[in-house]
């Protein structure tokens, strides 16, 4: 599947170099978008999140028997009530800030999200969630396809990837989404002093503006450079952002801080990608998972408060996913292996908070309809594409059927 991704980039480059044009700026984009300033922040939990520890069906008697050391005890969960089928649920004890958002009605939890014949491979699984296509994981990502619908030419800063590699979900035919891990170091260096450096920068901009159609790979790298040079000055303004709250000092929180900076300084970015890793908890999960939840909670809580203090919550939607859930039984290493269905979250001022979908029954019965793989893994109930459809149609104002290559509105959880 490595090859298929590379194959895509190769195929994508050809189309890309034909479609790429000079960037436009905020006012144009605002017009193109009908002056909508809604933004989407996608949060990817990399490695396969153990959703049974994040959103705990703590009354299920099989939870303790199947997870003797990993089940979060009923007495420790942060209770948030019952789902539509009456299952009592609680958040992981480290998710205190998220429970506050839940209590404010601003956090939606969609249980048992996934797809049929869930891949247990990180890479294939991530590609499937990225392309929204379990059958063929080549081609642009679902967010990239959304970017491709925005006419006629797109500001390269419309999207902002805070991770160091461009995620497949953001691969687009028409725009190279910039990867900006740290706005402060996103600057143009030179061996020379300021005036000469300006001459070099101007020369670099001219050199990279040439996109030879006979050399699409060269055009692709030139386009990356061109996007960088075209966005440097606006990103620099984000580097000076002083948030209203204190963010934790870790990569996830600092990425969210940069996102808040971009939103507050209104540089025009609308689609953000943030990820945090370590979720591939094959071993010693009891020690690591609380830290993962702490990082998630503390980062999102600071971000939520920061946005709130700037009045931006109603214009922002946070959407969280992971490539799969984990096996129900804990393994001999005090961890969990790759599983299937997982939980998605949506947070924002316009989110209809609550618990969507039904928790699995964890009874280890091969005929248990909420499980699969002989009762070892959680079976999906809500197709993840119907969650995407809700976001595309109701938040981004685009046509989910054309972007997702099919109508997934039926059964869409109505959290927006």
């Amino acid at each position: 599947m490595t090859l298929s991704r590379r194959d895509f980039v190769r195929g994508g480059i050809a189309a890309f170099s034909l479609g790429f044009e000079a960037p436009r700026f905020l006012c144009d984009i605002a017009l193109a978008q009908g002056a909508s300033f809604r933004s989407l922040v996608v949060v990817y939990l990399a490695g396969g999140n153990d959703s049974l520890s994040m959103l705990v069906p703590y009354r299920d008697p099989s939870l303790q028997t199947r997870r003797p050391t990993l089940a979060v005890p009923a007495g420790q969960v942060l209770q948030i009530g019952r789902d539509g089928a009456g299952n009592e649920l609680g958040l992981h004890p480290r998710l205190t800030g998220l429970r506050a958002m839940f209590n404010e009605g601003r956090l939606a939890l969609v249980q048992r999200t996934g797809y049929a014949n869930s891949s247990r491979s990180h890479f294939e699984g991530t590609d499937i969630w990225s392309t929204a296509n379990p059958l063929s994981t080549q081609g642009p990502g679902w967010l990239g396809r959304y970017l491709d619908t925005i006419p006629p030419t797109l500001d390269p800063l419309f999207g902002w990837n805070t991770a160091s590699e461009t995620p497949h979900a953001l691969l687009s035919r028409l725009v190279a989404v910039p990867s900006i891990t740290n706005p402060a170091s996103y600057a143009f260096g030179s061996p020379n002093s300021a005036a000469e450096a300006e001459l070099e920068r101007a020369a670099a901009a001219r050199m990279s503006s040439h996109l030879p159609s006979q050399r699409p790979h060269l055009a692709f790298v030139n386009a990356s450079m061109q996007s960088a040079l075209a966005t440097l000055d606006r990103v620099a303004t984000v580097g000076t952002y002083v948030p209203a709250v204190t963010y934790p000092n870790n990569g996830f929180a600092l990425a969210l801080r940069a996102v808040a900076g971009a939103l507050v300084t209104q540089i025009g970015t609308r689609i953000f990608w943030v990820q945090t890793g370590g979720y591939d908890t094959h071993a010693s999960q009891a020690g690591t998972y609380p830290n993962l939840m702490g990082t998630l909670n503390d980062g999102l809580t600071a971000f939520y408060q920061d946005l709130g203090s700037h009045g931006l919550l109603n214009d922002t939607l946070i959407l969280q996913f992971s490539e799969f859930g984990r096996r129900i039984n804990e393994n001999g290493s005090g961890g969990t292996d790759h599983g299937a269905g997982s939980v998605m979250m949506a947070i924002g001022g316009q989110v209809r908070g609550g618990i969507y979908g039904t928790a699995p029954s964890l009874a280890p019965d091969p005929s248990n309809p909420t499980l699969e793989n002989n009762g070892t893994d959680v079976r999906y109930e809500t197709d993840f594409r119907s969650v995407y459809a809700c976001v595309i149609d109701r938040w981004l104002g685009a046509d989910s059927a054309s972007i997702l290559g099919g109508d997934f509105r039926n059964g869409s959880p109505e959290f927006l």
Partner: protein
């Protein structure tokens, strides 16, 4: 041109580029004999490490900030500097290139091990030489160095019991009662046959095969001589038979028989031999080597894949034969393959240093830039390794490359200005001179003309020393930071 483009191509691909002197030495040997010299690297002495710290070579800086001497067996940033030093100065460039290939293939990240056992033991497991290890065991990267071109099956076997790998994919915790699937899945999906060639039940069976392939710590935790080593723990091995969906034995039998605890390690040997022998493994390696050595712009033909897979099978998984077949193929030697591969950050840095010089430059200064370019050595993002090809190029990583070129040209200003002096009666002559010394792919007229305009910008051209001290580094910054230079 000063240099033979075929030799330059060979040295960019089978090595990390070439200084003017290295290119001349290999040109003297000739193209096909040079391939033999590169592949048969055992005939060349491996003495590069003894030059660390000596004049005339790139420098290293102890990462401990002077509190301790340079410690590449115990401090990871020192290990990173030593590896860069080897890429830059080794006389066995293909060996070092294959080490990078295997680091990507068996992608293992230092940080997970360091989280478990601390930085000193984690660095030891990743990078210590046998001579630096209390029990003479090789760190993972040294394992790759020893088995860079010998037999792939042997390499796979050693990787399966490599302490770093046993931490990375949790094999150390794989026991009879609760088999651990992590290594079993990746040894099939990523290291050998690939997705689509195995089933979920093969993963479960594979996990059982490697039960008891664990680790033991020798010495007490605070003992300075403590280390981890492989332990086959028969009591934790699942002795039952394991059946796969593909043949394990050459007679077509798909079942590893039940075995006594004492002989249970043979299960793993059998599975590894089967995976190494599987026809898809040779084809996957052929495709991967195509992307690594020949082209990321054109896909390999079916004939090429079949030819290289045959070399793999007929040599009984001998990588020297396979890589020799790749490098001596007509596809490799074709000018259409020149500059058709996106350079990896480590390749970019090593080549820029070879071509621009490293006077007074310490490799410590390359570590943060490499990280910003997306390739921190010993820290691949996941077991699938780095996203290669166009995936290396984001706006931030391209800026990081451009900014490394700025750092390097600034540090080499005196040398650059000195060689430029006397070469620059005109901007055209100066540009032509530097395009002979460094090896970007072809600049088309718009870019070429922009470089000339840059030399003429900001004041009248005099070609004098003070102007060259500014314009020559500025020009090389633009060349080495250009898109044209990002291909090998």
């Amino acid at each position: 041109m000063n240099s033979d483009p075929r030799i330059q191509h060979l040295l960019r691909r089978a090595g990390f580029g070439a200084s003017v002197a290295e290119a001349a030495a290999f040109a003297e040997i000739g193209f096909l004999p040079a391939i033999e010299v590169l592949v048969d690297y055992h005939r060349t002495p491996d003495e590069v490490d003894q030059f660390i710290g000596q004049g005339g070579y790139a420098g290293v800086t102890p990462s401990s900030g002077g509190m301790e001497p340079f410690s590449p067996a115990t401090i990871v940033n020192d290990a990173r500097q030593r590896w860069l030093f080897r890429m830059l100065h080794t006389h066995r460039p293909l060996q070092e290139k294959m080490v990078l290939f295997w680091h990507q293939h068996f992608a293992t990240a230092y940080s997970k091990i360091a989280n478990a056992v601390g930085g000193v033991l984690a660095t030891q497991m990743m990078a210590a030489k046998r001579s630096e290890h209390p029990a003479g065991l090789p760190g993972q990267i040294e394992l790759f160095r020893e088995l860079a071109l010998p037999n792939f099956r042997d390499l796979l076997f050693e990787v399966a019991r490599d302490p770093a790998m046993l931490f990375w994919l949790d094999g150390r915790l794989n026991t009879r009662a609760r088999p651990q699937e992590n290594f079993a899945r990746e040894v099939m999906e990523l290291f050998t046959i690939g997705v689509g060639q195995f089933t979920e039940s093969d993963v479960y069976a594979g996990a059982r095969v490697f039960t008891g392939w664990n680790l033991q710590r020798i010495g007490e935790p605070r003992d300075p001589g403590t280390f981890y080593q492989f332990l086959y723990n028969g009591a934790q091995h699942d002795t039952g038979a394991k059946t796969f969906s593909f043949p394990i034995y050459t007679n077509g039998n798909k079942t590893i028989p039940a075995r006594a605890e004492s002989g249970g390690m043979e299960d793993g040997r059998d599975l590894i031999a089967a995976l190494a022998r599987h026809p898809e493994t040779g084809r996957r390696l052929a495709r991967k080597l195509w992307g690594f050595f020949i082209s990321e712009i054109q896909p390999p033909s079916d004939a090429f894949v079949a030819r290289i897979a045959t070399a793999y099978t007929q040599s009984d998984c001998h990588m020297a034969s396979v890589v020799r077949a790749v490098l001596s193929s007509p596809e490799f030697d074709s000018p259409s393959s020149y500059f058709s591969r996106f350079s990896w950050p480590a390749e970019y840095v090593a080549r820029a240093l070879k071509e621009l010089g490293y006077t007074g430059f310490t490799l410590n200064r390359a570590l943060n830039p490499l990280s910003n370019m997306g390739q921190q050595l010993f820290e691949p993002p996941d077991v699938n390794g780095w996203e290669r090809g166009a995936g290396w190029f984001t706006t931030a990583s391209m800026l990081a490359r451009m900014n490394f070129a700025a750092t390097l040209t600034s540090s080499q200003r005196a040398d650059i200005a000195a060689v430029a002096g006397g070469q620059g009666p005109t901007p055209e002559a100066l540009l032509s001179f530097f395009l002979d010394r460094v090896t970007p792919s072809r600049f088309e007229p718009p870019a070429y003309d922009t470089l000339l305009e840059y030399l003429r910008s900001g004041g009248a051209w005099t070609g004098g020393a003070s102007q060259l001290r500014v314009k020559a580094p500025g020009l090389l910054h633009l060349i080495v930071g250009s898109s044209e230079y990002q291909f090998v």
